[in-house]
Every structure is written in structure tokens, then in C-alpha cells.
Symmetry: C2
Subunit: 463 residues, 2 copies
């Protein structure tokens, strides 16, 4: 007898789960398509080379690697090596794998864009909703297989792209029923200015950003502690604490942001200033909030960076984020191609929607069918099959009880699976061209002409 659990950190989605997931995915899909984004899908498995080195050292460790097969594996494991070769084997762990599981949807996008430069429109707007895999230590709400919902616009540096992305993501969240969110916005160049001003040397910027990004989770003191442990000078840490402390004490409004930044960095970067002004003026989106503490962990961002957080309730942390990454695609192709994107965290959105009861009743109810047809006897089975098929026209979902059990047992089953209607087709009904229809909620039964059964059920279901 084999184990029956899914693998560690992975999940089976039973029908009620899938219905909720598909409800959210369909809304995301519809909204992104209404903005002219097109669907893209890439394979779960990539060449190991494609992924290694794109996500930092920690990322390299978390990539699931696939064992070589057949002859290639035998060569690596030394079945054909000389004994004296063994030391080589011991150090060649990486030689054992040639493929890997997709770690995010951005690197595959960059690969596809570089590969299909001539088949794709100059401005390629795509969305992609697929699972990714990370060999992280599983924890509450952290899985080893999870979905990302990415939307990216390739080929333009215009701020219009950033505005449209923010608008699309806002529309998704509003359509799903969220009202208590904000879209924090910052600019990588401004962060660079701040870090330079605070005396953090450029080669430490990346590790400093990873720590600053945790501000909402571990607080200012936690960030400072981390920065000190990363050999950032005491002076810089003090100034950082002062800068972000000042900011945290006040409302994180747009004016306040400008004031604080101007106070600290004389002038700042004029083009960044203009970026924020344009983004806010063009977008006319009340959810946008410039926030100089927003850092985003990934190293490939080059311009605007975004993060969506919920403002009410228990849920801490972001439900999505993104930014501009004008250098990534160039890693795969001959030319630098500007790009900007947003990624929504499906799993987190689902958790919050579940907690808040945000699914419409028909999704939350999760019934397998609208109608169950009973089976009177082996002899009448053909008629029951035929009735079920008649009712399936025009979209009614009809399930057939498969065995000629006692009617009481069939009714009990219908009750268990919460089917709202049961059609009884006994010998009398068949002779008379009738169907007995039972409303499982009220218990009422009614005999109707078989040819009217579909319309009866349809109007009753709608009413």
C-alpha cells in the first residue's frame, strides 16, 4: 500500500477548491484581456542553464532540478568512470541535473521574447497564469507549488505602460470585491540615491534592498539589525534609521514623501520626480501611494516598483507586486528591450477571499450538478440515461445515479451531494410520459410532462 499524501509542500485541489481558484483566475483573465494582454504559456520544465544565476544564490538553491536520464546519468554517476575518477564525481552534483522546474514566469517570458522577437508584435502585452515551483521550507501559506498570475508589457519605456498595468491590476482587485488596498509605488533610482546619500557603497545596494524590503514584516529595528549583520557601516545604519524613522512617524502621503525626500536629498533625481508626477496625474487612481520604503527583493528592477498591500484585517504582506525591468530580456537576446510587469499572488488572494467570504453563493455552494436523475431498475436505465441527456441541453448540469438502488438511498445521496433537484423516472412515469421532480430544499414533489421537464427546471432554477 503506497502513501496517499501529496508530496511535501504540494496540495491536491478538490472540486470546491478548484471552483474557487477558477472563479478568481477567470476574472483575472477577463480583465487582462480587456486591456489587450494576450495569453502565453511556457513549459513547466526549462533547461537548467536558463534558470541558474537569474534569482541570486538563494534562488539557485531553491530551484527544483531534474535528474539526467539514461546514458548521460550513467556517465555522471560514474558507472562508466574509472575508480580513480571518483573525486570528480563527488564534486559534480550540478552535473547530475540538466533540467529544472520553472521558478517564476518572468525569466521564461524574457526567454520567449528573445526567441520569438520576429513573430511577436513590437509591443508585446502578455499575461500568464501558471504554477511555479520552489524548494522552500514549507510553512503556513508557503507552498512548494503555487500559481503566479503575471501581466507584462514589453517594448515601450512609456509611463503609459506603468499606468495601464496599475489600472489593470486595480480593476482585477475591484472586480474580485477588494476595496481596502493600496498600491505602494517607488522608483529604484530614488532608492539608489537614498542609499548613496546614506553612504551605503554600491556593491552593498542589493543586499541592503533585500533587508529594507522587509520593513513591513520585521519593522525598522529588525531591518537595522539585519543591515548591521550584513556589514553595513554603523553610520549608514544610523542615518537609515533616522530617514525611515522620520518617514514612519508621519502619514505616508505623496506630499509628505516629497517633503521628506527633499529634506534629506537636496533635489533628488528630477526624472524620478517627474515619473511619480506623471504616474499619479495620468492614472487618476486613488489606490496609488508613493512610498520611499518600498524596495522589492528582486535585483532585476530598474525603474518604477509596485506592491499591493491590504489595509484592513489580519492579513500582513503583499498580495502582488511588480516593476520595470529594462535589462532582463537583454540577458537572453542581442538587444535590450524595455519591460514592465505585475504579478498577483493567487494563493494569498484566495486565502483572504475565503476568510472574508467574498465568493459568490454559487461558487461557495460548490454543487456537482443542478439535477440528479434516479434509476428505477435495470430495465428503465436506458430511459434514465436518455432523460439525463435531454436535460443537459442548454447548460443544465445533470448527474445520473448509477445503480438501481432503493429510491430512499438515491434520495439520501442527492441530499449529501446537495443537488437542488431530483428527477424520478419510475415505470409509471415512463408509461405516462411524465417525470416526478422533487425540490430538495422544500421537499415538494411535482409531476410534469417529460417534454416540459427542462423548462420547468430552468425556470425554477432561475427563479
Amino acid at each position: 500500500m503506497s502513501k496517499t499524501n501529496p508530496a511535501r509542500g504540494m496540495r491536491d485541489f478538490l472540486p470546491a477548491d478548484v471552483r474557487k481558484r477558477n472563479y478568481v483566475i477567470n476574472i483575472i483573465r477577463e480583465v487582462y484581456e480587456s486591456y489587450g494582454f494576450e495569453p502565453l504559456e511556457t513549459p513547466a520544465v526549462e533547461n537548467l542553464d536558463t534558470l541558474m544565476g537569474k534569482y541570486g544564490e538563494e534562488g539557485n538553491q531553491l530551484i527544483f532540478k531534474i535528474l539526467k536520464r539514461g546514458e548521460k546519468l550513467r556517465q555522471e554517476t560514474g558507472a562508466e568512470r574509472q575508480e580513480s575518477d571518483v573525486s570528480g564525481l563527488l564534486s559534480s552534483v550540478s552535473g547530475l541535473a540538466d533540467l529544472a522546474l520553472r521558478y517564476d514566469l518572468t525569466v521564461p517570458l524574457a526567454r520567449v521574447v528573445a526567441n520569438h522577437r520576429n513573430d511577436l508584435p513590437k509591443f508585446f502585452k502578455r499575461y500568464q497564469i501558471q504554477p511555479v515551483w520552489r524548494a522552500d521550507r514549507p510553512a503556513r501559506g508557503r507552498f512548494r507549488e503555487f500559481y503566479q498570475c503575471d501581466v507584462d508589457a514589453i517594448g515601450s519605456e512609456s509611463v503609459a505602460v506603468d499606468c495601464e498595468l496599475i489600472s489593470a491590476v486595480t480593476t482585477v482587485l475591484v472586480r474580485l470585491g477588494f476595496t481596502d488596498f493600496k498600491i505602494r509605488v517607488n522608483h529604484r533610482r530614488e532608492l539608489t540615491d537614498i542609499l548613496n546619500y546614506l553612504g551605503v557603497s554600491p556593491e552593498k545596494h542589493e543586499i541592503a534592498l533585500v533587508s529594507i524590503d522587509k520593513m513591513d514584516k520585521i519593522g525598522l529595528s529588525g531591518v537595522i539589525e539585519e543591515l548591521e549583520s550584513k556589514q553595513i557601516s554603523k553610520d549608514s545604519c544610523l542615518m537609515l534609521s533616522d530617514f525611515f524613522g522620520t518617514f514612519f512617524e508621519r502619514d505616508r502621503t505623496s506630499e509628505n514623501r516629497n517633503e521628506v525626500i527633499h529634506h534629506l536629498i537636496s533635489g533628488g533625481d528630477l526624472s524620478v520626480e517627474t515619473y511619480f508626477q506623471k504616474l499619479i496625474a495620468y492614472s487618476q487612481n486613488d489606490y496609488i501611494e508613493p512610498d520611499p520604503t518600498l524596495a522589492r527583493g528582486l535585483s532585476y528592477y530598474t525603474g518604477g516598483i509596485f506592491e499591493i498591500v491590504l489595509t484592513d484585517g489580519d492579513f500582513k504582506g503583499s498580495i502582488g507586486g511588480g516593476g520595470r525591468y529594462d535589462g532582463l530580456i537583454g540577458m537572453f537576446g542581442k538587444e535590450q528591450i524595455p519591460a514592465c510587469g505585475f504579478s498577483l499572488g493567487l494563493e494569498r488572494i484566495l486565502v483572504v477571499m475565503d476568510e472574508r467570504g467574498m465568493f459568490p453563493p454559487e461558487i461557495a455552494a460548490s454543487t456537482p450538478a443542478d439535477v440528479m436523475v434516479t434509476v428505477w431498475s435495470e430495465e428503465t436505465l436506458a430511459e434514465s440515461l436518455r432523460l439525463a441527456n435531454e436535460l443537459r441541453q442548454n447548460g443544465l448540469r445533470v448527474t445520473l445515479y448509477p445503480d438501481a438502488d432503493k429510491l430512499g438511498k438515491q434520495m439520501k445521496y442527492a441530499d449529501q451531494i446537495k443537488v437542488p433537484w431530483v428527477c424520478v423516472l419510475g415505470e409509471n412515469e415512463i408509461t405516462e410520459g411524465k417525470v416526478t421532480i422533487k425540490n430538495m430544499q422544500t421537499g415538494e414533489q411535482q409531476s410534469v410532462d417529460r417534454k416540459d421537464a427542462f423548462n420547468f427546471l430552468l425556470s425554477s432554477s432561475e427563479g
Copy 2:
């Protein structure tokens, strides 16, 4: 610069591909739901133990295995072994992996049913449309990542289940536009009777079935050649050739089948005979065709077996198949649970539909949007963004040209991406509250009030 191809045997699906795939998947989903089948999803990654030994020796080889990580991997690769331990390492290739990629959707289903026996209804009807991975040698039409569309009914031995499955699959194919198919049906027990009658010893039945299954691909002589190479006796091979030869010379009709079988096996298995009679009588499905040569390669089938083949055109081979497997779920649980299922081959269906031009025009056209909004200048960008959002209400798909390029350039781009309508919003239009709408097919332009633009586009698109 990294390589930009997908991994060997894997495919990127550009928007035009995804649209076709989703069109087919949505029809399959709708039909299966109308039969009361519920959606299930399982992780791409399973414990290696769950999969090994379920697909025969060849299957074991074709499973993609995932390298262990961290400490566990170091132990296996001997970084912490003594030199003298090395011989152990050389033989422990299987010890290097602990996880594997899903090889089909049936074994994960069996695992889920055993795991969730108490949460699932007694009769669990599920469909599952997800990719599977096989380390097969890639060839034309054979990929290492491909989708399976499975539909299975768990918990009943009733022939009603087989009938409903065949009916559901038939409805899918008809809805997709297929008319030239047949559903070949056989019964494993009848095959066993025939093989026994022909003197094939029981322990050779499985390898004999694998060869007989290739009848349509390699012909009778090919099958006989394979059987001889598998040490099946000359006598048995002669009789087999005689039996299937007789059958092949005549129409494979239901009466003919009975005649041939009765002629060769006096009586045959009465319950199998009844199974066929019931299946045909209850289903009233003209596509069903009993066929004593149908074998199906998989070893877990125990009752009825099915295969769908197209009868016209170049395409050889099946586009789907299935059968009853009453023993598989018991491998994972304490109890035997009867089960029957069907699997459609999405990739093959797509190839044939493409060749035959079976996609509806709006899917085949694959436009990224219904409307493109132009951008006159940086100053009017906010208005263009606003217009795009106005038009997006109620389902129009609208894309915004992101840069303030010359209008001619913007129009050329609209032409390239085949958008049917372009909205020009210049300074004059903004002042006058108008939009100029261009029909990209006819070249006609018309100035309409901005508040009427949506209705104009909607009625024109529908007309």
C-alpha cells in the same frame, strides 16, 4: 547570452496557440460539467514512490525524476561518505531522487481517492485537465510535456457509468465539430478468453496485449512478428493470425464480431456478451463499435476498454481512450473501489482541428484586441488612458498604443496586430468631446460623440 529555445521536447505556446487550446479545453470542461463531473487538480510533482512501479518497466524509465536537495543530496553523492563507500554510490542512482513529475492523471486520482475517501461523495465523478511529463524520445507529434483531459467515475460497477462516459466523450467530439469518428469497444475478459483459447500462457498475456494493441499501426504481420520475438509459440501465433485475419477481412460490425467470436470460442464469456449488449442498448450511440482486436497497452484495465479513432483523413492512431480499472485504487487504499474513465488527447485533437480548419473565425483570427486607442501627445495621454478605460466596460478588449509616435506609425502597428477598430483622440477631438473611429478593414473613418463611442463600436462589432 543564454540559449532561448525551450527544453527539448517542450513547447512555448504563443497567444494564437493558447487561444486554440483554451477553446478546446473550455468545451471539454463545459460538457463534462453538464454530466456532473467535478474539477480536480493535483500537483505536478509527486513522491517518487507514488509513481514507480505503476506504469511497467518502460514507464519507470520515462518518469522525470527530481534531484534531492541540500543535506539529503550531499549524503547520497558521498560528499560525506568515506572513499571506501564509493561502490555503494555508483549503484544508488535511484537514491539521488525523491520526487518525480506526474506521468499521467490516473495514478494521482487513485491516490487522491484513497486519501480523501471520507471527504468525497460515494460516487466521485471528476475531470482533470493538466499537463503530464514523459522522458520519451521527442518525435513529430510526440512531446515531453503534453496535456491529458481525463474524465473518471469512481465507486460504481454499473454499466450506466460506462454508458455515461462514452456519451460525454461523444458530446465533446460532436461539439468540437467531429463527425468521422468511432468508439472502438472491447472487454479485457474477452481478450483473456481469446488468448487462453489460442494457447498463450497467462504470464505472457500482458506482453501479448501490448503487441496486439499495435494492430492498427504495424498491421497483422507486424504484430505476429513482435509476438514471435516475445517467445510466443509458433502455434499460437498462427492461430492468432488466423483469428484476427478472419476478422480483418470482413466488416468490423457488431454481428460480424459475434459471429467470429462464437465461431472461434464456443460460447465465450456470457457476462462479457451481456456487457456489450447492454452498452449498445443503453447508450443508443451510433459511434460505438465492438472490436475484438482492441487491446489498450495499459495493464491496469479489468473490464470494458475504449478507444476513439478518426475514420477519415490522414490522421492515424487514437485521439482518446479509456476503460474500467477496478483494481488500481486498491493499490493506494484499504478497499477496492471500482472505477472507469476516459482520456482525451488534447495535442492530437488540436493538430487535426488545425489541419481541418475547425476553429471558429474569432479564435482562428487571434486578435489581441477589438479596439486600439492612439496617443496624440504626452499632454493628451491621460485622456487616451481614460477613453480606453471607458471602452473597456462591458467586455470590449481595448489596447492603448503606448508612445506618442506619428499617427501613421500607430496606424501601421494597428494594422500589423489586426485590430479591427482604431480610436483617434487628438487635441481637436478632446476639445469637441468627439472620437474619430476608423474601421481598419474598410478604411472608413467617422467622427462620433465620445459618449456614444462604446455603443457605436459594440453595434459595429456585432453587425
